[in-house]
Structures are given as C-alpha cells and as structure tokens.
C-alpha cells in the first residue's frame, strides 16, 4: 500500500546544477508534506516542509513545490553540492492526524558529482 511514491530510485547531478527530486501521493487526505535526508548509518534528518495551503516553500538552497491537484511535490536543490549526496525521503500526513504519523516514500538516492 504505497500512498507516497518516489518513482526514481536514484539521481545523479553535477555539482553546481539543480537537483530535482519528485514525489507523488495517492491519499487526498494528506495535507502536510516533508522532505528528509538520510546518510548511511544515520537517522533521517528533517529538511523542509510544506502545508497544503501553500504551493511553494523555500529555505536557502532548498525549495519544495506542491501541486495539490496533481498530488505531486518536488524538492529542488540549487546549487547542488557533493555534501548533498544522500537518500532523500518524501513524507506526508493528514493534518487531522491525532498522532502525527508520517507516511514515507521509498527514497531517492542523490549523487552529486564534482
């Protein structure tokens, strides 16, 4: 039951270019979305979030775009740096959720090459 889908298991980008990571969801009750980054042997690290009342949220080099009608969100990293190489997870939750449980995608492994 994949309610959050990240269809690209991996992505390779040159340093300085834009990285675009995509995420689709099927549950129309989802209205809060997050991106996490994970290095090997570490837990996921929160990066950026967006609620469904917005279509864009920016934090430094990271921007998340939400297209609610298409049930699609994307994370843009500009400019990409070698230290951004990690697995990126998209997560979602309904705001009515009493326990704040997050539904995760399977992740996209980003490699930024010098």
């Amino acid at each position: 039951d994949q309610q959050v889908k990240q269809n690209s298991p991996s992505l390779s980008v040159q340093e300085g270019r834009i990285s675009i990571l995509n995420c689709d969801y099927t549950n129309s009750m989802f209205d809060y979305f997050l991106w996490y980054k994970k290095y090997p042997a570490e837990g996921p690290t929160f990066l950026i979030s967006i609620s469904s009342i917005k279509d864009k949220n920016e934090d430094g080099r990271f921007t998340v775009f939400l297209n609610k009608s298409a049930k699609h969100l994307s994370l843009h990293i500009v400019p990409s740096q070698p230290g951004d190489s990690a697995v990126y997870f998209c997560a979602a939750s309904p705001l009515s959720n009493s326990g704040y449980a997050l539904n995760f995608g399977k992740g996209t492994s980003l490699l930024v090459t010098p």
């Binding site: 939750s93 326990g99 704040y100 449980a101």
Partner: protein, 118 residues
Amino acid sequence: EPEVTQTPSHQVTQMGQEVILRCVPISNHLYFYWYRQILGQKVEFLVSFYNNEISEKSEIFDDQFSVERPDGSNFTLKIRSTKLEDSAMYFCASSCPAHISLSCYEQFFGPGTRLTVL
C-alpha cells in the same frame, strides 16, 4: 544542538526472545515515535506516544509490541517474542516543542538500532 539518542546501535537476538530498544528523545518534546525500516523498504510508522499514552499506532504494532516511558527521559520499545521478520532498523523520533502545533510533524530522528533476529 539537542538530538535523539538510541541504544544499542546493534542488537542481535534469537527468535522468540524479548528485546527492549531504548531511546532518549529531545528533552522539551512532547511526542515520541517509533518507526522501522526493513532492508530495502520504506520507513514505516509503528506508534506515537503522548502524555504517557499511545496516541496512534499502525497495523504493524500488534500485541507483540509495547512502548513505555519508564522515567522522565527514556522511551522504550519492547518486542515480546521476536520473529525473523522483525529484523529491521528501528528509529526513535520526537517532535512538538511545547505549545507549537505544525512543528509536531517535523520529527527529529535518532541514529537507529539495527535489530537482527536469528
């Protein structure tokens, strides 16, 4: 910067044995969670805990699992009789600094405990 810690980093156990995984959440957070990630699969929610009670649990969190906050700092996950399929990375997380609501979704994760059931 405050962080979530977990012990042990790796636990090996025999099938049928009980295990307790330990976590120290961030001190001013109100919600605590357990997630797991089976190798090659997505991170899955197990349970959330607030005010000394389970606030939400998934279908995975059956009677074999329990959670406890035995004192003011620790948060534990107990698996009563481990099965081979319980082998996974278990992540503890916490969120929700007091009186802030949307940030409750922005969960801070520990480094995980790798559980291997033989």
